[in-house]
Chain length 578, copies 2
């Protein structure tokens, strides 16, 4: 029987409770958004005692369903001021599921300056002072936690950035090799965890067990069929396992939608030097790992291990969005340097996207020249040291724009845009503008249909049909995030809708439900409606569902494209009232 774990940082207590009736049937993002929407005052200060950090494994968390181990983190965002869910790979979602815990709700705040670790195992949960971890990066934190708790546990933690409540800070989760490489990156949720005085969570799976099944055989058959869909689709079966997400560099460059030098161009001359093909080549030559799963249930294995010329570990394979943010977007073409930056962001506990876009805006504001990789790395190092410059950068792109007096600041709802220019990939532009999460490609990945021809084709340069595309994807994504599946399952699901039957069968077999495929959009829509309602109560309105003005005025090379989806189209995208 899955439970909620309530953790009160004000009086340093923990308490298990059955999942309240109103939250039943939800997991992952559905659960975090329901609890945040229901229990958090939308007008509270995000780093104050009234905010809650909600952590949840998906509905299939801990099962043998392929790629089902995503873990969701939710709170009122210190970056956007609205509701936020960010999810992460790694082992922690699986471990939560095997410990019979659907969600963890972290409430209150500890005494200022005090930090604790939360230890969760089959016997229960307790908060323990963590003075020894204070001020450490995530890699050093893991070393201490491994020494204390062993090499079977997984860990959730913040680095220096989260401790300092910087609004670009992430929450790190360990991967299959106990590396702190998987992050709930967006929305500054590390600042919420840091504000509560919670440095780390230790999940000890010993004594845990696979979730109970209403119909084990049906589950097994559907899981097998679903895995086959994943391994046989060209994107999830071939492209991602070989080249990682960084395969997108050359694709987006070719499409003219690779934002370059702070969104001033759509193509980067040195794109090949930082693309996935090159990463594969370098990694292979140096004896690194090109195909690696962040969680044990993964059959796609889009990650890798980046090594230096001596074959020593530098970082996990940087994701496409990381390579883009610090590469083309900063005019940097040195992949070795970008891998080191990836490690530093992971270590300090920072969102690589928000930080790379912040650096590009700082470059436009005159801090450094575009292309100055060593300068960028040195400035990033200052975030870990919490110097004034480090604090500015760690406060994210919007703040950097304000502090350096820059006009071209690519943010929506205070959160920076990721690696797809909305002028050249208009469907994702609609998602940036309208998702309750602030600019976020994962909320409705229209790149799939605009560029990758998954789920049909839609001209990325035409404004027509993008609103419908984004809406359908946002609904589907909210459902996927509730089930706890890796978003990459969307490729086979979009192209082989029958694979969705397997997911529904697994949910029914796990819980004894009678869902049909037709019920799925309703789940996604319900989650979005809760999120939109929270934001309305927090004071959001339609004027915030807009891209910055320069996307409408400055044509993007090579297509001379501007963002021309109308405000009316944007407004109807998530209007469920009619």
């Amino acid at each position: 029987m899955a439970r909620l774990l309530r953790v009160n940082m004000s009086d340093i207590t923990t308490k298990f409770e059955p999942v309240p009736e109103q939250y039943q049937g939800l997991g992952g993002r559905g659960l975090t958004s329901a609890i945040v929407s229901n229990e958090v005052d939308p007008t509270c200060h995000p780093i104050g005692p009234l905010n809650k950090l909600v952590i949840s494994t998906g509905l299939l968390g801990g099962t043998s369903c392929a790629n089902s181990g995503r873990i969701s983190f939710g709170a009122k965002s210190p970056l956007t001021g609205g509701i936020k869910e960010a999810n992460s790979g790694g082992q922690t979602g699986i471990h939560l599921g095997r410990l019979d815990i659907l969600g963890v709700v972290v409430e209150g705040v500890a005494e200022a300056g005090k930090f604790y670790k939360l230890i969760v195992n089959a016997e229960g949960a307790e908060l323990v002072p963590a003075d020894d971890l204070k001020g450490l990066g995530t890699y050093d934190t893991v070393e201490k936690l491994k020494a204390a708790h062993g090499d079977k546990c997984s860990f959730i933690m913040v680095g220096q950035a989260g401790e300092a409540m910087l609004t670009a800070s992430s929450i790190a989760c360990t991967d299959t090799g106990q590396r702190p490489t998987r992050h709930a990156g967006r929305g500054g949720l590390g600042a919420v965890m840091g504000s509560k005085g919670l440095k780390a969570i230790v999940l000890d799976p010993a004594g845990g067990h696979a979730p109970e099944m209403a119909d084990p055989e049906a589950f097994k058959a559907a899981a097998k069929s679903f895995a086959k869909f994943l391994t046989s689709h060209p994107v999830t079966g071939e492209g991602l396992p070989a080249y990682g997400t960084d395969i997108l560099i050359n694709i987006l460059n070719e499409a003219g939608g690779l934002p370059t030098r702070n969104f001033s161009e759509g193509r980067f001359a040195d794109a090949e030097q930082v693309g996935g093909e090159h990463m594969n080549e370098v990694t292979t030559k140096r004896g690194g790992v090109c195909t690696h799963g962040c969680m044990t249930s993964c059959v796609i294995r889009c990650s890798g291990l980046y090594v230096d010329e001596k074959g020593d570990y530098v970082s996990k394979w940087p994701e496409y969005e990381t390579v883009w943010a610090w590469g083309p977007n900063c005019g940097i073409s040195d992949l070795d340097l970008i891998a080191k930056i990836d490690y530093m962001c992971d270590d300090f506990g920072l969102d690589t996207i928000e930080m790379g876009t912040a650096m590009a805006v700082a470059m436009e504001g005159g801090l450094l020249e575009f292309g100055d990789g060593p300068g960028a790395m040195e400035a990033l190092a200052q975030v870990g040291q919490l110097t004034p410059l480090g604090r500015i950068l760690g406060s994210g792109t919007k703040t950097v724009g304000q502090v350096f007096g820059v006009k071209r600041v690519p943010v929506v709802k205070g959160q920076s845009m990721p690696a797809y220019d909305p002028r050249a990939v208009k469907g994702v532009g609609v998602t940036y503008a309208t998702t309750p999460m602030g600019a976020d490609h994962t909320a409705g990945y229209a790149v799939a249909t605009n560029i990758l021809k998954s789920g049909g084709e839609l001209d990325p340069l035409s404004p027509h049909g993008q609103s419908d595309l984004s809406r359908n994807l946002q609904i589907a994504t909210a459902a996927i995030d509730t089930v706890g599946l890796c978003l990459f399952v969307a490729f086979p699901v979009l192209d082989s809708p029958e694979s969705l039957n397997d997911v529904v069968t697994m949910l029914n077999a796990r819980y004894g439900w009678q869902l049909t495929v037709d019920d799925v959009p309703g789940v996604g829509q319900k989650v979005l409606e809760m999120e939109l309602d929270f934001n309305r109560r927090a004071g959001f309105n339609k004027s915030m569902d807009r891209l910055p003005d320069f996307f409408k005025r400055e044509p993007l090379r090579p297509h001379s494209a501007v963002f021309d989806v109308t405000d009316e189209e944007l407004d109807r995208t998530l209007d469920f009232s009619s």
Copy 2:
């Protein structure tokens, strides 16, 4: 015939035009808000080419009416994102009026990095490169301008902060001694002037003349009568001339409404050491000046010249809000040091209020100890040097709160609260929350009735009646700001309503109008409605008409007061729809 001067910074041209019909009958804030509301896209970037900086003298600007020389600056604010008007004393409003110019509209932006000065005289207006002024503080700027244009001119300019487009930057105006001591401080309007590449405006009154009058004799009689009201009221005739605005330190301290150490208490133990009585004593002893008018038409003369022990000039007398912001609010009790800080803020072109509250928040965030005056001065010096820390501080209180992870951040609509705790002076709390300007005491100075017993009495600790009080004062203030009168005329006007007859008589005598006293509130309401409409179109809504949460939750000593005016009362304050 009063004219508008249009200045285009994109093509470096100037053009005079008759005041368009739709703007006739307006001046000062009424004119700036009308032009901003009518001509500026509410969604534009405040430091981009679509914003306009509008400068206007009041309807009685340049006349012999006592205290009528205020000059208004308006734009979309880089600090609040909404409409902004900030007005200033000094000679520039009078000179504009004598040059037959009702308003100056600065449009477009110059090439990045280029700065110009605008020279206006009886012959016309021209833009001239001002490379020699670039990077200078306002005091050095004045020296260069005096050398070039003589000692009869008045000057409007930005310092290093405005050039760098920092959002706490002000616009400086020179006083009767050509000192850059009078500032349109609030809302970051210096950043707008800086963004346009306009470093300074030179107003040469030679060849100008007193405004034409429809009925010179009637004007003269009413002006004489009005001046008598000002000089015979105890506040404007005795208190302010002797002790300056700083007389309020001991009054607010006694009332328990003097925000101390970042709004954590309502009384400061060392208040006397920084109060107006002490300032008068020190100034008298050292041979400074205790009674000094910032403009030639002033009969109140609330300013002074602060000197050091050798009798050398340190700054003009710091205003009450400046002394408070850097004194009690930072736990600092050294008036000599505060006077030096006042000079530095004037020189860099910074809002003393926004900067002092930013410093207090930084202190709470751990930058310095409360009370560390030398440390605060050193940090402030970094704003002039544009170091990273200087840029953080110069970006204002809200940004400092974000960058340093502070929960107690006293801002409304992104602008910091001034020197009256809204828990102990609830009428001004309603003004902070509801004025379209962001937290601003001058928008509806309920301190008058709550504390000073002007215009009646209303218990400052009771929530009842504060909404009505604030509304009436906001309407009256918008009218006063349109006429271009110093706000201190409100004391005699509140206590002797017949003095308002004189103002109306002067307006009619100047323009040949047939106004009555009953028409005045309509003028104020019309101005407010334009401003509220702009903000609505910029995306503002009721959720922004709120004080930060901690004012409702943390009781303020000594009265254990919280801010308990209801949201419904706040919402009806400026609801003119019924």
